[in-house]
């Protein structure tokens, strides 16, 4: 199980790195903030503010599934992901493909430029 999901994610990451999506940090963070409205019912960027989803404070560079006091899926805990612009981009494109059986009820953000904007916002706002 473990190696499987890691392998799938690695494949997604390779595709992303090969240039199918624009580098995340090139996005428009202001537009990304608007896109974040889709996430805000569950996620906050404030420290310690877990809701339906975990707080996104300190997201970049964090190991997936490690925010204290949040009940993660086993799939997310053992995904082995470290959140970066690239890993976020791959995850947000199709969450169930990137981490099968994770608990986030979100079908994915298919538009690569929207995703780039959102990731840029997250890179800035979660510091």
């Amino acid at each position: 199980m473990r190696s499987n999901s890691v392998r799938i994610l690695s494949a997604v990451l390779l595709l992303t790195a090969a240039g199918l999506a624009a580098p995340a940090s090139a996005g428009d963070a202001a537009r990304g903030e608007q896109k974040f409205a889709e996430c805000a019912t569950c996620h906050s960027v404030a420290a310690g503010a877990n809701g339906v989803g975990p707080s996104l404070f300190g997201l970049i560079g964090r190991k997936a599934g490690t925010v204290e006091n949040f009940r993660y899926s086993p799939a997310m805990k053992r995904s082995g992901i470290v959140w970066t612009g690239q890993t976020l981009d791959a995850f947000l494109a199709d969450p169930q493909k990137a981490v099968p059986a994770n608990r986030m009820p979100y079908a994915g953000l298919t538009d690569a430029s929207d995703r780039g904007d959102l990731v840029s916002y997250l890179e800035k706002a979660t510091k």
């Binding site: 409205a37 889709e38 996430c39 805000a40 019912t41 569950c42 877990n50 809701g51 339906v52 989803g53 899926s73 059986a101 608990r103 986030m104 009820p105 979100y106 079908a107």
Partner: protein, 589 residues
């Protein structure tokens, strides 16, 4: 021993949509509010999240969010000549019992009832004469108008993230909406949901037949949304788990994620869960209520909560039960036709057809409460002449799916064996390739359809169960036949491989599930002789008691009830704010 607690300004009995709206608004106006809820605290994050929420056994078969019939239930009969027996398992209707109430497990269909309902007797008498309404049909005008309620409908629609397309903006008919709706001042809070294939096919077929299909308005957020109170909604993911489930994406308008958390942030508000109200207490002359008696159902401790004002905001059936148990207002007697409490219990009727299309794939596992299309040509269209058909009321027709569950939804052509190899082959063949068309019909009040206290059976607190006497009458059977014929015609025009035709219901039974649209029992009106509450939902008997919910409807329309229930809750907020400044009867009889 009963512990007497410190008096508060307002005690709210039941914390669903109506209790949640009133608690939030009245706490913000400065009143000290205590809400007593029978059920447990539940939240999206802890309880309605993946993967646990998609559990058909827990939520559909075992009714996890519903009332426990081992503690309290109703006795049921079809007419006064029968002996009523307790309903020991839920079936035909499913009252909720958690913080959020039935507002957690509803689908989200949100309609505006119009003057066609509010002035029903006047309308029919004017057009068809007094003799058109049968002598035993106890319909009456509501004492309120659409224009009075319009801003409150809007308030509720914007609170609950209702997605839809206006059909009539300030009197101008709008392309793509419902041309028969009453004028609205603003568009819906959000645009309609994305239609599913079944809805598109229904839309095309009904257009061809000359009808006026439109997307069904529903409190399923079609995109991310922040409501006027600041509550945040996610976008609907079309997961298909609406009805009977809490929404995992916080996309379905529900009190537990909108008004209730906002009330809970207010220091003027306190919530006590597992608190079962057994009685509303009155002062010695019976002109005012003084609070409520309740039991903590976790440990059996009994309390008296004194309050300046009592608001009954439980499920419609339980509001009526509490009024009868507390002896407020004269109980209704269907034989003598005297009294008011328990009068005009109504339900809904309906017909449905399943269409099977070999080779068309509907993906029934993807849908939302509102991803259907509807026609109102035989509903709020007053141009539809009921005269030649001889019935009062209406029905709306819709095509698509609503919560077509992967395990529970098993469409097969009629005549297929119910188990075994042949059934397995049929269910594999037709699961993906079937769609449905259904009509939901009104039920008019009848003198014999009513509630009272059961003479024999008691609940866990030793109190009499409420007795429901109900059956469809000739009017509903006629309406059902008309609806079945229409639905079958639409189905035929779509040329399916095979079809399970619709049949009119002729008799009501307590199984299987039909609809959780129980109305009436403590009806609003213009005269204390024929109603329990005035137009502000204030008790005619005790002026500091307000009763809010579908129990105030003098009859039941074909539309789902939550639109007017939510609007009337906001309407009552404003009434109570005026009442607080000058306590006393707000309408003089």
């Amino acid at each position: 021993m009963v512990t007497k607690l410190k008096e508060v300004d307002v005690v709210v009995v039941g914390l669903g949509w109506t209790g949640g709206i009133l608690s939030k608004e009245l706490a913000e106006s400065g009143l000290k509010v205590v809400a007593l809820e029978r059920g447990a605290m539940r939240s999206t994050g802890d309880d309605y999240s993946l993967p646990g929420i998609r559990d058909e056994l827990r939520y559909v078969i075992r009714h996890d969010l519903m009332q426990n019939t081992a503690r309290d239930t109703l006795t049921i009969r079809n007419n006064p000549s029968q002996e009523a027996l307790p309903m020991r398992q839920l079936g035909s209707f499913l009252p909720g019992e958690v913080v959020g109430g039935s507002g957690v497990h509803w689908s989200g269909h949100t309609w505006r009832w119009t003057d066609m309902e509010f002035k029903i007797r006047s309308n029919y008498e004017e057009r068809y004469g007094k003799n058109f309404i049968p002598a035993d049909m106890t319909i009456q005008d509501w004492g309120i108008t659409y224009d009075e309620l319009e801003p409150y409908y809007e308030r509720f629609e914007y609170t609950a993230a209702v997605s839809g397309k206006a059909g009539n903006l300030k009197g101008k008919i709008q392309e793509g909406g419902n041309p028969f709706e009453a004028p609205r001042q603003r568009e819906y809070a959000l645009p309609p949901l994305t239609p599913i294939l079944a809805s598109e096919m229904f839309t095309e077929a009904t257009k061809k037949l000359g009808y006026h299909p439109f997307p069904r308005p529903s409190a399923n957020a079609s995109r991310a949304y922040t409501n006027p109170d600041g509550a945040k909604y996610g976008a609907c993911q079309y997961c298909g788990y609406c009805q009977r489930f809490g929404c995992e994406a916080n996309a379905k308008g529900s009190p537990h994620m909108s008004v209730i958390p906002l009330a809970m942030k207010n220091p003027n508000f306190e919530l006590r869960t597992h608190s079962w109200v057994t009685k509303v207490l009155k002062d010695s002359d019976g002109k005012r209520v003084t609070g409520v008696a309740y039991t903590n159902i976790l440990n059996g401790e009994e309390f008296e909560q004194p309050a300046g004002m009592v608001l009954l905001t439980a499920y419609a059936i339980n509001n009526v039960h509490l009024m009868l148990l507390s002896g407020i207002g004269e109980p209704y007697d269907p034989v003598a036709q005297k009294g008011v409490v328990g009068k005009n219990y109504c339900y809904q009727t309906g017909v449905g057809t399943t269409l099977f299309f070999e080779g068309r794939y509907f993906n029934p596992f993807m849908s939302a409460g509102g991803s259907n299309a509807t026609i109102d040509d035989f509903n709020i269209n007053w141009g539809f002449d009921r005269g030649s058909h001889g019935f009062v009321g209406a029905y709306n027709v819709s095509g698509g799916f609503n919560t077509a569950l992967p395990i529970g939804y098993r469409p097969v052509p009629r005549g297929t064996p119910q188990w075994g190899k042949v059934w397995k082959a049929a269910t594999a063949k037709w699961y993906q390739t079937a769609m449905s068309i259904s009509a939901a019909g009104s039920v008019m009040a009848n003198r014999y359809n009513c509630y009272d206290l059961d003479p024999t059976y008691k609940n866990a607190f030793g109190q009499p169960l409420m007795r429901m006497t109900f059956d469809y009458k000739d009017n509903e059977v006629k309406l059902g036949r008309h609806a079945a014929a229409l639905v079958n015609d639409i189905a035929k025009s779509m040329n399916p491989t095979t079809v399970n035709p619709a049949n009119a219901r002729t008799q009501w039974t307590v199984v299987p599930y039909q609809s959780t649209h129980n109305t009436g029992g403590t009806i609003m009106g213009t005269d204390p002789k024929s109603s329990v509450l005035n137009k502000y939902l204030q008790s005619w008997d005790c002026h500091n008691l307000f009763v809010v919910g579908a129990n105030v409807f003098p009859h039941n329309a074909s539309y789902n009830p939550t639109g007017p229930v939510g609007a009337l809750a906001y309407w009552t907020v404003d009434a109570i704010k005026r009442y607080v400044k000058a306590p006393g009867p707000m309408v003089h009889a």
